[in-house]
Amino acid sequence: MPIQYYIYLSLVLFSIGIIGVLTRRNAIIVFMCIELMLNSVNLLLVAFSKMHLAFATANDKLATTVGTDGQLFVFFIMVVAAAEVSVGLAIIVMLYRNTHSVDINFLNRLKN
């Protein structure tokens, strides 16, 4: 599969995530769009790791573990995302408890 297809798919998903962050006002949906952007990057990392492997095995038949690092990076991104979600949702719950709304415009009170 040509690598460009995977790049285009990831770009489209990432842009949809950006549009969601810019256009929605529900804090939970904004947070979900950030998850979508993280996932599009994960997909691109896995595709590039397999591209790297294909390139390495074409030159050297013994290079069978090239590109494993890319997939481990995806693993670490998932770990960081899980930690981020727990803290972020705690912040959103606290915001809801104080304002009885999840509208992100209420966050402009942080200015004062």
């Binding site: 599969m1 040509p2 690598i3 460009q4 297809y5 790049i7 285009y8 770009l11 489209v12 998903l13 949809i16 995530g17 950006i18 549009i19 969601g20 810019l22 256009t23 929605r24 006002r25 939970i28 949906i29 947070f31 979900m32 769009c33 979508l36 996932n39 994960n42 896995v46 595709a47 790791s49 397999k50 492997l53 294909a54 095995t57 069978t64 573990t65 090239v66 590109g67 494993t68 997939q71 481990l72 995806v74 693993f75 670490f76 998932m78 770990v79 960081v80 995302a81 899980a82 930690a83 979600v85 727990s86 803290v87 949702l89 705690a90 719950v93 709304s101 999840v102 509208d103 415009n105």
Partner: protein, 167 residues
Amino acid sequence: MNTTEILFFFLSALAIFSAIMVLISKNPIHSVLWLVAVFFAISGHYILLNAQFLAIVNMIVYAGAIMVLFLFVVMLMNLNAETEPQKNLWMKLAGVISGGCLLMVLVSLVRQATDLNAKKAMTTTGDIGLIKNLGKLLFSEYVVPFEITSVLFLSAMIGAIVIGKKE
């Protein structure tokens, strides 16, 4: 067109359609469910790339744990389509246009990159995604980041408890 290509285009169309539905559904619960569909499509892509460990982890951690956490919070707050805050139309239009501009710039960048021509991602073959290879590397070369991860989780847990507890 062989089976791999058909599966690739089907999963891509499913992922993009579900991602758009995440944005345009008014009810937050529907958004969460569509996002689960996106994660399943991405897991299908991982299986297609023969990254089996990541496919299973993506399904369990993302579509399972994280999305259930989102669903739990949405239902706890009793959010629905009536209480959904709306931006005005011009702000939405500006957001869509700026996101589309970003997409256009990035796509034109990829189209001009001659390095990427004739590069192929290995699908359905190559076993670097199997847990044997990943585990060997994780516990030899990347063992320090792996241990630091546990500190990150501990601090995230303490942070969530401190933020979430009542005054």
